[in-house]
Amino acid sequence: MLKIEIEEAASKQWQPKIVAFFCNWCTYTAADLAGVSRIKHAPNIRVIRVMCSGRVDPQFILDSFAKGADGVLIGGCHPGDCHYQEGNYKFLRRFQMLRRVVDSLGIEKDRLRLEWISASEGDKVRIVVNDMVAKIKALGPLGLPVKYKEWANEMNVLESEIAGKEEVYA
Amino acid sequence: MIVELDAIRGVTLDTIYDSSEGTLIQTCIQCGTCAGACPYGEYMDYPPRRIIKMLQHGLIDKVFNTDSMLKCVNCYACMMKCPREIHLTEVLLQLVKEQTVIKLPVVPPELQKALENNYRYGNPMGESGRKRANWVQTSTVPIRILSQNPEPVDVLWFVESYPAYHPRGQDTCRAIAKILSALDVDFAILGNEEKSAGECGLLSWESGLAEALVDYNMAILSKYKFNRIITSDPHALDAFNFRYKMYGFKPNVTHIVPFVMQYLDKLKPMLRKTLGYSVTYHDSCCLGRHNNYYEEPRTLLKSIQGVKLIEMVHNRINSICCGGGGGGMWLDTYFKSQNMERLSDIRIREAIDTGADVLAVVCPYEIPRFEDALKVAGYDKKMAVKDIMELVCEAMED
């Protein structure tokens, strides 16, 4: 009982923020459909509309993490259904490479997700968003900007130390 | 299709509307398919459809004052045909049934006795627990009993009460033992340590007796190391998969038919004897409707040389219950007093109409029920009731 209360209090304090890139034709439409059907889901995603998942530059994703996103979700049409024939395949290829980069930065797997959601799958938006939010809540904040600041400070200290030493040697 | 156990843990009739099951119940369109599908629907004052309406109107207490749910034989017919996929047999009806039995002025003596026996001896017939493994001595192949030899084993065979004590059940057991050893399966049984698994609607969940049996068997099972459990009793299968799981026990349990089917390639060459029977197959409610094993038993039968399979009018999802489920096994006298025909009598007429030599079954209740029904119909010289495993074993003999 107590544990649950504590957890609830903690979750009240901290809500993860997820940046989402949804393609105009399938996933963005599905998210609208979820709305029209009043399918409730967690309020933690912030959608950026792009014409096709193929437009999603890996840099957008890294940038989102670096600037404080706790998770990034990319939504596109099912394979074979891309409005532009194969933008989603092209993105998939980039995504697989990006996955490795993100791993190597120590960002947990569950924070980056790619989902194919067609225009009719309003309920899938709910399932995916809720699941992702639950998993990220369990992981806690990513907080890269804060970490960067700490690293930058450490670097400064180190640099000045080195500079100090160099002075001594000089 | 099948209920998610987490959604109904601890749910009662008072709290059901707060669960996802309650939401589902709200979608009932009062179509009456459940009542029409129920083999005893015409004898119930409150068939499932009306129960739902009474529940919605807060009048459910009226239902407890009738014996409607005592007449439910847990056959899953209503549930599997319900166009809203409401888990009638699995959830709602169980809860109503429990209240019905509690409120009953007199519990039918036969049922009362079976409940007591289960509590005192761990089997409904009141046999001594120490004789449970006696049949092993009549087996032609060696059978390991875990209490005597507790080494880890691949397959734990949960024998159950009817197979262990009833002479015809023991026939099935000997057949199974033979098949398992022919297939080189590493198996063992619990022997006298085993007690009735506790399914079969006798025991609506959370009733003390069911819990006692579940606790007991879980404790025994946790003593031993094994990979999977098999059983020839579809009711035990359901007990493990739907009740024990709710208590946190999650073994991999299979019925003997799908289990043997995994070895079909190996088994087929061993089935050297041509049987030359025409066979009709009775779908057990638990194995068929509830666990969706319609084709496996048929495929197994058809792999026996000379077996000609004839279907009864009602088969697969439409099969008629033998009347033994949900406590029906011990309610025949009561049903008779209510002028209700035994379902086994109805079912046997369909079997007889096929003109088959053998009525093949996969549930230990069914052999005694149908053999008795055949006697009543005066047809017992022309048709034999056999467990599929008996037929397989027969085909293995040279």
Binding site: Q15, K17, V19, C26, T29, A31, D32, G35, K40, H41, P43, R46, R49, V50, M51, C52, R55, D57, P58, F60, K67, G68, A69, G80, H83, Y84, Q85, E86, G87, K90, R94, S118, A119, S120, E121, R126, P145, Y148, K149 | I29, Q30, C31, G32, T33, C34, A35, G36, A37, G41, E42, P47, R49, K81, P83, R84, E85, V313, I317, N318, D353
Partner: protein, 668 residues
Amino acid sequence: MSSTNGKIKIGFYICHCGTNIAGIIDVQKVVDYAATLPNVVVSKHYKYMCSDPGQEMIQKDIKDNELNRVVVAACSPLLHERTFRNATSQAGLNQFYFQMVNTREQNAWVHLDPEASTDKAMDLVRSAVNRVAFHKPLEKKTVPIKPDVLVVGGGIAGIHASLTLANAGKKVYLVERDPTIGGHMAMFDKTFPTLDCAACILTPKMSAVKNHPNITMWTYSEVVSVDGYVGNFQVKVKRKPRYIIDDLCVGCLDCIEACVYKEPRFFDEFNQGLSKRKPVYMPFPQATPQLVVIDPETCIWFKTGKCKQTCVEVCDRKAVDLNQQPTYKEIEVGTIIVATGFQPFDAKKVYYYGYGTYPNVYTALEVERLINASGPTSGEVVMRDGSRPKSIAIVHCVGSRDKNTNLWCSRVCCLYSLKLAHLLKEHTHANIYNFYIDIRTPGKMMDEFYTRISEEGVKFIRGRVADIYPDTNDEEHRRLIVKAEDTLISEIIKVPVDMVVLSTGLVPRDDAQDVRRMLNISCSTEGFFIERHPKLAPVNTFTDGIFLAGCCQGPKDIPDTVAQAGAAAAEALALIDLGYIELEPNTAFIVEEECSGCKSCVPLCPYTAISYDEVKKKASINEALCKGCGTCVASCPSGSIKQNLFEDEEIYSEIDGILNYKMEEALC
């Protein structure tokens, strides 16, 4: 545009949408917050932003406050972006100096916690305010619309749409897969609620299609590929070999008579297998066109290579050609109407109704043929066992309203069940029992029809049928027992009947997913094509220039099908008569100075819009071919490709906005 000295001035507006948005989001808080954001000079809320007063408010503010950017937080941009862009441009601003925040569909409607919803709205407003500062003035591209139209499917929907367009003087290509047009309607005897004869109203329309100078009708044909975009689709049509030369055949049927198969012995599709046909056949007497067809699946010549070919011999017009090959036609059209219809639910899937097991269990469509004067029994209701029914059960909702099969109500089966009850009674004088869950008779004259049928003495039993099985008391006749609960009297009843009619629902065609892929439109998971908006754009798809008509969009009756076909034709006409369509200017372009000439973008473009200039050693994009997906933009290693409306800066500024990221803070 008024001078602003290069300073960005943003007007921000949030819509209440009645209580749709304001009921959950604290609009005052959002407005107060937006006012604090950089460049925002006006921040307001209003009850209905899309109303005239709402739009006028924006326009007035643009003039009074010299606004040069507008952000509106309201419903989805897919719904009203166009409205607000127009308002912006009417006030003299470039319409692309506008950005919309989805505050209803993707916020107020899907969240329960007002605080979290308001937070989300503020994040997205910040993001939009950030983004709009980077917007550039753009012009919409226009593309001309080719006036020809393709109609796929020749049921009543396709027929009606084709005739409407052709009468308006447009050239129409009607492609039908079967050997004849007509669809399901051609199979019916009479139609509810007026009980007029289907053939009498359909056949004239079929011949009108055939004879119309503006319609090219290709039956026994299929669309195999569709390329291009609105205004200019390139379509390839496969004309399957009929083994009959169209221009020579006069439909005299001599070849059928002469076929080496003396008796018909193959499944007759049109009669649902209730009769047999020969390998060479005419689907039904009024088939349009009046051409026979040879089915290679059943013709012995195609199966064995041996036959006397009596059909070839007998035809003095030399119209039979067993060596015919498929031909392909390539056409260019500006718009497409999809009218591929439905298929009936496969009754075998409800195992306990015994279809396929008991011969006297029929589907409704089979009964339509049985009672049809030109059907297999010339309108006599004679069952498979040769007997005539004295009692008949009609089972509603077969394969509809059932989670085990299909969830939807098929909308027409109640009514056609009433129709069949009437017709069967008329033909057989049998006792008729309609087993139903709910009788659904919406629409003009429909409930009156129900009353009329009730007066005729048809019995109605309110209960879904639970079981159908042979009556063991009746050995030779194979009478059936229909078991159900009559829920109105709470009794289980078992009605013995001679015949059972299953009122099967309407389901999407098996190949709906393939058709959808080929046309690049969407369909629900079940397979009905999705309209752009359920209320406001019911015949449009998400793909410009492609429209829907009839049951391919969802179950409906003939009046609604025809109305929808007319609407689809009108939408196509509106485009054609305007002559052009405006497209989003979201194309990509290459900043030549920055292009390193690596060629990585060239193979990425699905439309081969990117070419490489060997002399300049630079890539370039053909704007006319680019569809604006942005794939090349995201993959240019030197970042030298940009996409209008989706420039990198715009997207980064959205990210910054969402995360409230400020460069200065991060660095200190």
